[in-house]
Symmetry: C2
């Protein structure tokens, strides 16, 4: 799913509903300006390239990935719908996971409006609410 | 808001949340294959080109508009969030309006999967849920 004029601005809350497939190895939510400039790459990996049950978070600037952050709390289950929430400001993204726990990741691109939104991988994107 | 790989298939229900602006004259939801091939153009007009408080529904095929359908039941209010629901099959679209009433419109393109989804006009697109 690709949205090219999302208009997600700092201070808004984005609620995302996604359902990893029964045999999901990985899916990702990508928020930024375009495919080469992603402020938030949020990538739950069930089992991908030797990484299991880990959330990998990163950003991409001018086509180059930044420094990865890994979270071992993994409240996602194959075949089960997940709800999670994303907020951000100029400094930081705040992500509320399906179990209610919070993680954060620096907003390295430092912008306050992102129009590019892409869901990749083995999950059905059920919907979002942005307010 | 433009989504180019929506994957909205016959039998699914699409719930849409949109908030017409305080001075909204018109907004539209467009579902189809591309800008020239729209199976459902759903266009609540508060006050546009002499048409007031009317839902205009149409389709576009190969760049040409079809025959318009007009509904005078108009359960939309400027500045207030609206929820409505769209279902369809090969023959027909079924739209449940914010007041719970139903309208239908022929699925003249006759397809069972539409990837193009666009919201135009003076409304904030708050979100959707597709299941």
């Amino acid at each position: 799913m690709l949205i090219t004029d999302m208009g997600f601005v700092s201070g808004q809350e984005l609620k995302i509903r996604a359902k990893p497939s029964d045999d999901c190895n990985s899916f990702s939510i990508n928020i930024g300006h375009d495919a080469d400039n992603i402020a938030l790459h949020f990538n739950p990996r069930f089992d991908l390239n030797g990484v299991t049950d880990t959330i990998v978070i990163n950003c991409k600037s001018g086509g180059s990935w930044g420094e990865e952050q890994r979270e071992e709390n993994f409240p996602f289950t194959c075949g089960e719908e997940s709800k999670f929430y994303i907020n951000y400001n100029m400094e930081c993204f705040y992500i509320k996971l399906p179990d209610g726990s919070m993680i954060d990741f620096p907003n390295r691109l430092g912008d306050v409006k992102y129009d590019y939104f892409r869901v990749d991988g083995m999950a059905q994107f059920i919907g979002f609410k942005m307010q």
